[in-house]
Amino acid sequence: MTASHLSGHLPADHALSPAWQFKRFPAIGRMLADYPARDLWDTDFARLPAPLARQRLRAREFAERYLVPAAAELDLAPHAAAGTCHPLARSILAEAGRQGWLSYFLPRPLGSMAWRTLPYAPIWQSTLIVEEFSRACGGLMLLLSAHHLGVMPLVLGGDLGTILRFVAPVYRACERGDPHLVAFAITEPGAGSDAEDGHGASLYHPGVIATPTKGGYLLNGRKCYISGGDLAKTATVFAALQGEGMDSWTCFYVDCTAPGFRVARTELKMGMRASGAADLEFTDMFVPTDRIIGGLRNGWALNRATLNASRIPVASMAVGFARAATETAVEFARRYLLGGKALIHYQDVQLHLATMVAETRAMRSLVWQEARHAWRPRQLDASLCKFHATDRAQHVCEMAMDLLADHGVQHEQRVEKIFRDVRLTRIFEGTNQINRLSMMEDWQGQLLAPDRPVGV
């Protein structure tokens, strides 16, 4: 039997329930007061421009059909040796490629972006997709998304020729169902935050060095924690020029099958386990000059522009995780009986869920607000979105685990995995401490301008 109302609340047809009476208001009042009580996901869906809404729906369908059923198995699977890919993940990658999820940053015929979505910032499109994928499985989301990070320097730093020469074949292979993943490699054993923060970088002695040789450069050194680096066919690797500092950073587009490249190991991660984090080793690896992206010594700016483009999508991962945690908690509260009543009928449970929903929707509002305008994403906005959404999302995941209490520890209940997945978002793409500093760095012009009030 379904209850007609929650405990402590009036049924919808009660004399003191306002909603049904709004429908009886005079025309103007009705126009201003009567509202459809839609599902919250649908509400936001209806607020999107139609082409983006369609994209969001497609992403959800893909995620529910392919990612959700594989999530638990891939999370529990034994650690795969570097370079191997679980057959389930491989088939999902192939299907994702065929459906265009690995090539959506450029319009057809170069990529899979539909022409009707062209008027909207690609980052906005990406946030919608990443949220849906994250909600389904953090690891598979990262497997599918780190690739876009790898491609980004090619798009931002290259001219049309670079795009035709390097990006288009990658996208074509993906769409054929033969995924060509691209990894993004900035982090080194000696530089995590120093690879994300200018002040730190200015004091760092680079670890991956490019030495000029005939027709190109020899790369030597090591990059670490590179998402998808174990499966990538190519990678955008940032290296300093021999004898110079970080201001000589240059982006090299490397072929991961070339001699001198080795995946030294993959990490045993807390969560997002369907995606590998690899140590990449370069030993006299030859990279021809024509695979320098964006010109010599332009790597640092290219890196920062890439991070500005990727941090809003990282914030949308947080929305996806918070949403998954909230939806799971809501389902649990609807289903689980205590004292003969579903938990959802208890007032404290309602308060708890209300806070979780509000947090999640506040995050989404922030992310969409910034993503909508992110044609040229500002560092301040991107970093703020990233650190705030991911911090709050972890809190929402903790609230979900708290609600499930003794049951929240079980892998079967999903929330503990969501927690392990969301935990990463506060560390990568710059720790949330570094993102706070990054926001301030970008703001300093206004903060230090004499005699000018600062608007917030």
Partner: protein, 377 residues
């Protein structure tokens, strides 16, 4: 048997050595949890050393043996903090077994220490802490019908499954059941129960998670009289909550040391990261959480009869989330390496989260406190 504070300190120094050296070396690889054989061997060693109750009728200084005395309580809390420092999973296994033994003695049917490592305990019902009802029941006989119904449902072991976290080969389970308005304790053989081993659990990797339901014929129930029933249930709950807090404090102490060591070595931004205010702030948050937890635990170093269950629940609700935050800051200070299973920091987060969610979790502890203090009509 009573123990003086100075003697307790000496014994704890020994326990600390055992935890760091013996347990520490067995669990040196955080990504590879100890198996049941190692756990069993460590349990035997701990029993021989008197850290765990020894064979016979008790009267030693092992875990939860001296609960009528401040020194004995301090010793038990210290043991759990030390073992929790080395490994929270092992600490939970020992804590719950020793508590089961304490309970069986309180019920007048002590079991042999041989059974110790095969016996575990769950002190609560199938979900949470029965809102305000359990606290109010411990306090007085004045219960509404609704509260009685809630308690009966909370402790209905056939209608609901209960999550049990224990070493995988456990064979005996103590849990509270509802009998004629009183809380009785069932000592059930695993064979009497419907036990489903779950895929995995969030943390405490040395242990396993089970969904357990009583079979129709589960027997072996001890029902104390009304006064004893209330006192024993309140005390088991208090000891369990304090124990979990002590283990979490130990785990965070370990994390704190790891974070301090790492911050003193790792260079970013041209200096060791310990020099960045961002990192100093996180280290301070860990320190503050630890101090708060240690102060709470100090307050519980008194005879169990003098411990107020409302104060315990309040301390748990207030302090445990801080310990979880502190464990998270341990990871955050480590940056990327903190996320990796072979580095150890992320395990502390998972373990401390687990400890928070066990025994009803901390969210319902608020309702429990409200029930206990009676701040409602």
């Amino acid at each position: 048997m009573y123990i003086e504070a100075d003697d307790a300190k000496l014994l704890l120094a020994e326990v600390g050595r055992f935890a760091r050296e013996r347990i520490g070396s067995a669990v040196a690889r955080p990504e590879t949890p100890v198996d049941v054989f190692v756990l069993d061997a460590l349990t035997r060693e701990a029993r021989e050393l008197g850290i765990l109750p020894q064979e016979g009728a008790g009267g030693g200084f092992g875990l939860w043996e001296g609960t009528d005395d401040a020194g004995g309580m301090a010793l038990s809390l210290g043991i759990l903090a030390h073992v929790g420092y080395a490994n929270a999973g092992i600490a939970v296994a020992w804590h719950r077994s020793a508590l089961a033994r304490w309970l069986s003695a309180a019920l007048g049917a002590p079991f042999d220490a041989e059974d110790l490592h095969a016996t575990t305990l769950v002190p609560t019902g199938h979900f949470g802490l029965a809102r305000t009802a359990a606290a109010r029941w411990i306090k007085s006989a004045d219960q509404s019908d609704e509260e009685v119904a809630l308690l009966a449902d909370w402790l209905d072991r056939t209608a609901h499954t209960t999550t049990v976290i224990a070493p995988s080969p456990w064979s005996t389970l103590f849990w509270p059941v509802w009998r004629d308005g009183l809380i009785a304790w069932q000592r059930a053989d695993r064979s009497q129960l419907t036990v489903t081993r779950l895929d995995a659990q969030h943390g405490l990797d040395e242990l396993a998670a089970f969904a357990v339901r009583a079979g129709a014929g589960a027997s072996g129930t001890a029902t104390p009289d009304a006064g004893a029933s209330r006192a024993i249930f309140g005390q088991v709950l208090a000891l369990d909550m304090i124990g979990l807090l002590a283990i979490a404090t130990g785990a965070v102490t370990r994390g704190h040391e790891m974070a301090r060591d790492f911050a003193a070595l790792r260079t970013q931004g041209g200096v060791v990261i310990a020099r960045h205010p961002a990192v100093q702030q996180m280290l301070s948050e860990i320190e503050i959480a630890r101090r708060q937890a240690e102060a709470a635990l100090d307050g519980f170093a008194k005879p169990i009869g003098d411990i107020d269950i409302g104060t315990v629940a309040a301390a748990r609700a207030g302090t445990h989330p801080l310990l979880c935050h502190a464990a998270n800051q341990v990871v955050q200070i480590h940056g990327g390496i903190g996320y990796m299973r072979d580095a150890g920091a992320e395990k502390i987060v998972r373990d401390v989260n687990m400890l928070k969610l066990m025994t009803g979790g901390t969210r319902e502890a608020h309702a429990f406190v409200a029930g206990w203090t009676g701040t409602f009509a």
